[in-house]
Point group: C2
Chain length 684, copies 2
């Protein structure tokens, strides 16, 4: 026992100590990491072993909005950004605001994508990269990322002035953890620190990798700028713009150009102002270049938080564990993006108005309705990735025609033949899963014929729901056609070799440009032969018809679809002739780009083209059959939807209901003129 009197003083001191300690551990509700856990740039590249030092998981307040900036230009990089964003969304639990600095191509793609993706609690803002170009174009740069690689330097000026902090990401980064954990590291910045960066995981900046290798100046191994925490308002206050320009100008007196784009300049600035940088744990930017030293980081770390494919070889880079990282990347590449439409619980995240309307419409559907699947499918908004592959829009020409069609994976093998038959522009919509989109990409890259064509635009409509939304897919292809006319066809037809030239000549001759409202009919035929020598002229085709190896399309199974084209007259015709609409007529036609859209209510099999042609007629298009035009259907396996149609009375019943509703809408829209369709359909 201690003598009386002392305990009081001791007790008070102990209480004080206890409070101090508790304060240290529990202030703001979470234990802070010990100082020994802080990564130190000059030390070594290693991660921090869990057994040595446990960093508690710091998190920003629930529902705090996190800001992410990404520079993105071109078709390929747009695809990359989507994979990055998928990995972000997979783990995130906070609302996100994406700030995308884009060229026109990327903006076009990503605007459509995010608009149709409708991810709750994700806001997207676009900034025009071309406007920023003058600010960096004076810097000679040898990096493969080009001018866009330098744009991260100007973000403090380009982003809204009230935006205080942002995470900046390269497009070749994949997340494997919640980005909120990265955002939380802002809380570790000292008052002076403005840029959070992970140390470089290569010896590049140490210099002397080869004779005369003279890198830009850097602190030790320098820092990698694939993942940056930018404290924007502090940067603006510190005069960042002047600072980096001055540094770059000075260095460029002795160095010919940047080798690693913005990264060289960031490192040179930091070399001069080491207090600006907050080093981040290596796991937030595991760099997978060829001679990466990243292994030291990730073998020790329990978690890998973000992976950076910072070799020009990207996924083809070779290192010991690349299979692991590739799997991680493929996980998000092939992940069904529709599943990322998950809402955030407990964070108020008002939906955009169209998403709200959609929710209400879906909520009003009756699950017991026999046609529930049809109703649901009609309402589904499909994610759309336009110009999935590089595409060069055709030069504006007054009579040009784009071939418009849609397909899914089971028709990919038609594409090469189609390219051979149609030398003009095409707008093709593909109905694919995320994983299939990658298969499609590989398919095109492996094909010399397809990869040589820059005038074929491929638009991916992502699969969702049990029925094939054929008209929604067609509408995507149609909306993306850039020429004044479109040839609306199906993917299993091959047009006559001369059709593209012939159509343009016909459009000119018939003076369709001067307001004549016409749909030019391309007569459709079919062959049942797997291997088939395609007729090189109308005379050849007539010979094959006579020999019985080619027929009018579906003349056995569904003669009404094409009978009005009048094949007998076509045989003899020398000039275009007008034909009249009749029930169930569904010819393949050439029309102006601003023709009516396909009615999206027709999902699955049946009446999808018939309704469109009916609407053309209701809008008083004349149907003119072209005497030298033809297209031939090749044999294929019947689709699943046609099998369902044949086997299911419910299916046929629902289709009938759709038809009836369509006709009602037609009457409402076109009034008495539409009566003729009702009458015609009522006849036996």
């Amino acid at each position: 026992m201690l003598p009386r009197g002392r305990p009081r003083a001791l007790g008070a001191a102990a209480l004080l100590l206890l409070l101090l300690l508790l304060g240290f551990f529990l202030l703001d509700g979470r234990p802070r990491g010990a100082a020994a856990c802080d990564p130190h740039p000059q030390a070594d590249l290693g991660g921090h072993n869990r057994s040595d030092c446990v960093l508690p998981r710091p998190l920003p307040p629930k529902c705090e909005l996190l800001h992410v900036a990404i520079v993105c230009a071109g078709h390929k990089t747009s695809r990359d950004v989507i994979t990055l964003v998928k990995s972000l969304l997979f783990y995130r639990k906070n609302p996100l605001h994406l700030h995308l600095v884009t060229d026109a191509v990327a903006r076009n793609i990503l605007e459509t994508l995010f608009h149709t993706w409708m991810v709750p609690a994700v806001r997207v803002s676009f900034y025009d990269a071309d406007e920023l170009k003058p600010q960096v174009s004076w810097i000679p740069n040898k990096h493969y990322s080009g001018l866009y690689g330098l744009m991260k330097l100007v973000l403090p000026g380009a982003l809204p002035p009230d935006l205080a902090r942002v995470i900046v990401l390269d497009t070749d980064v994949t997340f494997a953890a919640d980005i909120a954990e990265l955002w939380a590291l802002f809380a570790h910045f000292s008052d002076e620190q403005v840029i959070g960066l992970v140390e470089n995981q290569s010896d590049w900046y140490l210099g002397n990798l080869w004779r005369n290798h003279k890198p830009w100046p850097a602190l030790g191994r320098g820092f990698n700028t694939g993942v940056i925490l930018l404290w924007l308002d502090r940067l603006r206050q510190a005069g960042w713009k002047q600072m980096w320009k001055l540094t770059a100008t000075q260095e460029l007196l002795t160095l010919p150009a940047t080798s690693l784009a913005d990264q060289d300049i960031f490192n040179a600035v930091i070399k001069g102002h080491p207090a600006l940088v907050r080093p981040l744990p290596c796991v937030w930017n595991v760099q997978l270049s060829d001679h990466t030293l990243a292994e030291r980081c990730y073998l020790e770390a329990a978690d890998i938080k973000a992976v950076h494919w910072n070799s020009p070889k990207k996924l083809r880079v070779k290192n010991k564990h690349v299979e692991f990282f590739r799997n991680l990347y493929l996980t998000f590449l092939e992940h069904d993006g529709n599943l990322l439409r998950r809402e955030l619980f407990g964070c108020p995240s008002p939906r955009p108005p169209e998403a709200e309307r959609l929710q209400q419409a879906l909520a009003q559907l009756d699950e017991e309705d026999a046609c529930f699947e049809f109703r649901q499918q009609q309402l589904t908004v499909h994610r759309v990735h336009i110009t999935f592959l590089p595409h060069q829009p055709p030069p504006p020409r007054p009579h040009d025609v784009t071939l418009v069609a849609q397909l899914s994976m089971d028709r990919l093998q038609m594409l090469e033949a189609l390219c051979r038959h149609w030398p003009g522009p095409m707008s093709l919509a593909l109905y694919l899963t995320d994983a299939e989109a990658q298969q499609f990409l590989r398919f095109v890259e492996a094909s010399e014929v397809l990869s040589a064509r820059q005038d074929v635009a491929y638009h991916v409509v992502y699969r969702e729901g049990p029925l094939y939304p054929i008209n929604q897919i067609r509408n995507v292809a149609l909306a993306q056609a850039l020429t004044p006319y479109v040839f609306l066809t199906d993917i299993d037809f091959l047009p006559a070799y001369s059709l593209y030239d012939y159509l343009r000549a016909s459009i000119e001759q018939l003076e369709l440009g001067s307001g004549r409202k016409a749909a030019l009919v391309v007569p459709a035929f079919e062959t049942l032969h797997y291997q088939f020598s395609f007729p090189s002229s109308k005379a050849d085709l007539l010979a094959l018809l006579d020999a019985g190896s080619v027929h009018a399309f579906r003349h056995h199974e569904w003669p009404r679809g094409h009978t009005p084209t009048d094949y007998a007259r076509w045989r003899e015709a020398q000039a275009p002739y007008r034909v009249q609409w009749a029930v169930d007529y569904e010819p393949y036609v050439v029309v102006p780009r601003d023709c009516p859209r396909y009615d999206p209510r027709f999902v699955g099999f049946g009446w999808n083209k018939v309704a469109h042609v009916m609407e053309l007629d209701a809008q008083e298009y004349e149907f003119l059959v072209l005497p030298e035009a033809f297209t031939i259907h090749l044999p294929h396996t019947p689709s699943l939807d046609i099998s369902r149609f044949r086997s299911s009375t419910t299916y046929r019943g629902c289709l009938q209901a759709l038809k009836d509703e369509f006709l009602q809408d037609l009457s409402r829209h076109y009034g008495a003129a539409a009566l003729k369709y009702l009458t015609a359909l009522q006849q036996p």
Copy 2:
């Protein structure tokens, strides 16, 4: 200033305090949660808001082996287990040991699956559920899970005696976080606590849900047993077996049966011994039953860690946020399981020998080799899920024949017709992605014809790699055939309606059972018509042949494949006749189940059947053509592989290399007898 002399004592006391405090926070390297964070079962159902109380993320030591036990029986539950395991694997960073208590069906499926999955650092042990049945079969149980629902009670006795702790999971649980975080909660157990459970998120155990509703006794709302932390050795020491049996026996004196299987008994035991239970945070078992109160938990919580579909309606359950949870579930349901073959960095995880051999073989491939893709594809071990759907093996019959074929998604529409043409057992292998497997499931469930058939076994071979591994897929179907004979066919053929009966009669007549080595040839025909009236007899077929609407199969494009069948003789034949092998012969045959396997080196298009028939001939099977047998090929789109074959000289070159290697192996195996194939092939 304190007077001299005192500081020493004060300092010593303070140091002591400091050490105590540090010990409290940092013992075993991680801060422990404050007592205020502990969930309390009697309190309320809410989670713990991050702003009130932040539990640091506790983790077990890196590389600690975690044990998970799951009870699983039947085809459907086996599929569910795989989804659960995929969610576990996705987030895990520790080696896992799965303890699967299974019936014979589930064991057969899951053994094959894990064997072919080859996930590093995952060990699987099986325990026979049927052996455990007597221990629980005396308990009357009304729950839909049946007897298997009670088996969690006997795990302390059934699992190895040296297994100290285990996480027990229901098959309808989906993880959304690293299971190591759950495992780490064992560290929070007091010395008395033996069972970790999440409180029930429904009012069931409060009673009075309806008139005469009398649930089993429970503490308050009771606990849900979908996720359990079981401290096995403490349970064994505490006499668990006697304890639960005694409780159950006593309660069954007044209650007629368990309503919720094991959960009723666990709760009754805990009611009597409240000190046994360690309540777990609600986020580890978010219960999605119809009237769930789970919302109180997950709206407050930042993270949902594990979701439990504990309604008999499963994914069809209705609650406000079910779309969110469904998306989470679909994420793993459709996730490409191949991507989960990621190794664990920094944890020594020796691969199984076959995985090691495979790695070495893959490492030896030359990426510059023009046929690299072929080599890689041949070596690929595909994940295989046998009997993906409910299947009733055929009763043993001495002359029974199973139809064996393989297909991918684009041939699903053949299945109904095939079922109508072949009333006997079938073994069909499907080459699918994980997502396609779900589409396939829905397709079968929507089809009356298909869902009525219990004698058709569907085996899923998961897609991996660019070339179609046709012979590997065929071998899976062949290996799973359970009758003494197999009819080896392709999916786009429809057999004569009488073929099944006729084959069995022929096998009996020809006395194939008594050692006669024969391959019965089923002559193959083709039609080019979409819609086709299938001949009901040989006479009908001959009429169609004469009319030119049916031909011998590929007699225009590839006559060598079937010419040796001698169609002219077949027209007249009344009895089986023998024909000789010839180059490129590839008839459809009936052979004993133990026939040679298909050579897996043939991937993609070409020579896959030819090589098999050659090997039958090398093994001296006689080819006997059956006079009344026929099968007819329906038209379909050419496969992508045939397109690649036609367009790529490299592809054809690689196929030639495969052929040459196959012939060399044949010579090595069959010696001089195989010379005839070399000679035959060298002839022009």
